[in-house]
Symmetry: C2
Subunit: 388 residues, 2 copies
Amino acid sequence: MGSMTGSVVVAGCEWLEYDYGPALVPQDRPASFTMWRYRDLLPLPDGPVRYPLPIGGTPLLPVPALRQEAGTPRLWVKDETRNPTTSNKDRATALVIEDGLRRGIDTITTASTGNAAVSTAFGAAAAGLRAVIFVSLECRPEKIAMMTQAGAWVFQVPAGYAAATDLSRDAARAFGWLDRNTGANPVTLEAKKTVAFEVWEQLGRVVPDVVVAPVGDGPTLVALDKGFDELVRCGLATRRPRLVGVQAEHCQPLVRAWQGRTAAPADLDPAATAADGIAVLRAAIGDAVLDAVRRDGGAMVAVSETALDDAVGVLARRAGLSAEPAGASALAGLGSAVGQGLVDRSETVVLLVTGRGKAAAGPPDQRRVAVVDGLDEVAQLLAGEETR
Amino acid sequence: MGSMTGSVVVAGCEWLEYDYGPALVPQDRPASFTMWRYRDLLPLPDGPVRYPLPIGGTPLLPVPALRQEAGTPRLWVKDETRNPTTSNKDRATALVIEDGLRRGIDTITTASTGNAAVSTAFGAAAAGLRAVIFVSLECRPEKIAMMTQAGAWVFQVPAGYAAATDLSRDAARAFGWLDRNTGANPVTLEAKKTVAFEVWEQLGRVVPDVVVAPVGDGPTLVALDKGFDELVRCGLATRRPRLVGVQAEHCQPLVRAWQGRTAAPADLDPAATAADGIAVLRAAIGDAVLDAVRRDGGAMVAVSETALDDAVGVLARRAGLSAEPAGASALAGLGSAVGQGLVDRSETVVLLVTGRGKAAAGPPDQRRVAVVDGLDEVAQLLAGEETR
């Protein structure tokens, strides 16, 4: 019982007591485990890290109840929902902004409809930067509300998501802003590869047999591949894990490409899946995903909406983990991979759980939302605004 | 730039390269900082910790942009939203369940309408225990949905919240379950006091001048008092901080008691505040709260709904932190305390941000929800169910 000695009642409240002395608190400083641990493998100049939010160092959970139910005694969950805005996007946001803080850049931009935009908005707020997010007209109000709650500007582009991405990248070039667009900035891969380093260290400097990860635009999986590859190149590991990429059956362009099959219209219907975070028709770095999976001896698998829904429930009931459908898709994908004989239940398998659901605190702040067609309108709307 | 040497293109994707070697990854094991660090000051027998979720070790954020806006150069935010279910309740849940795991108890119960219930449901799921939650009929469906999503049983008690608490405590005694009710189990204070130890260590073994914390039932503030008191008794500190407790103007029984004034009906209307997490009419350990604030030289302050709403917005826009109104109330309370001359802007002040908003994944699972009046019905409903 530690050094507990008994109890007293203080103002009607029972206080346990101990044999008090200075040795009861450890003398070493409590160490924080963040992605900056791997700074020698990041494009990060010397000097103190300025980004104010702790990022990464997320737990690798042993999930005892889930292991028992799934019959997978060496299953682990890498819980990326423990990042500041509850998704793995925070790693990329942090490294891009850290670069900006050092270079004195005061604005960051991205096109996104989801976790990357929320991560960018809150990360910029924490660092005192301005965030300018480009979305399509279809972007849901509650997501826009999350972005404006953190003070971001949100520009809706009528020509659609691809046009929003183009406009964001054009703005970054024209105005000298930080470009956090997925697949456009190699720094995002650098940041996300730290997940591989963490998993390897958390397993006791051991490479798992398999890592299962959601695939939308592709950087999450490609970054895992690069991270494990670098461990091999450092002489710290002798092999990479097989990577299994997961897409929803309703939006599985890369699964079909992996299978060498033509995607049917029903395979390319992003609005039909609850896993909006991975419902990407034209992956930003799809070729790199297929290349990584091929070199690793891995695979691409598709999962049904029922399997996604079940995965969300099982993670909650058996791992105590609240995940959004895209975030839980790795568990659904493991079921699919085991069913196809791609993974054996006795292997050491790591599921990457990438994000959880978010609650907006109210409606969007319409003073920071506008429909735009081009850069001129963007410049006009931002003119005169002091940088936040 | 770390050891970066250049870049290559892999499958259309730019990969940065480094001067690879084993020294690029630190050789020490990455340390995890959790509340178990303080086990010598917890009622915890020797042996490995069995609770599977990492708890505590939450960041103390320097909040540079917020400091600048608020004119408070030594302001810190203790971000308890980084716990597994995004609130400080997870500390108490973990220590109660750890005790149960060691004693072979398979069920935990609490009455709660909010964060404590969600924390209990998910914590029990992670540990393979059954959670039985008692709520009033007024408990909102989305909160019940969070609880059943994690597999908890939810019993609605028509006689109201006080009766729900009585029934939960009766059930714990009758059936030998773990009792996680706020104020009933001294272990909950023991767990929550670790916040004080962490703040002290994170400031470099320095006691802050002031800690501002939300007050509903009272354990969060009383536990801070006990934690700092124990640092003094251990000979590690020479004083305690002043504690400032915050309630909403619409539900401020303890503020009125502190002022020695009779509470008007408008001061006792819990449904009128957005800060539901601290809207408690009869605090479980209110006397202990007043006693702690008095001994510390602190105070109790009330905050308006406008101030709460502003605090949520400022935390998002200036600290990159998404908090629910009760969770953000410490920032509103700081404004009130500064306005009353209770706190000086130049002091070292720590705000305890206790929780963020949560999103349910769907409707409640009605198979695990029932209206009950007494223990017999509870026993009948649970009979035959295998422990999860």
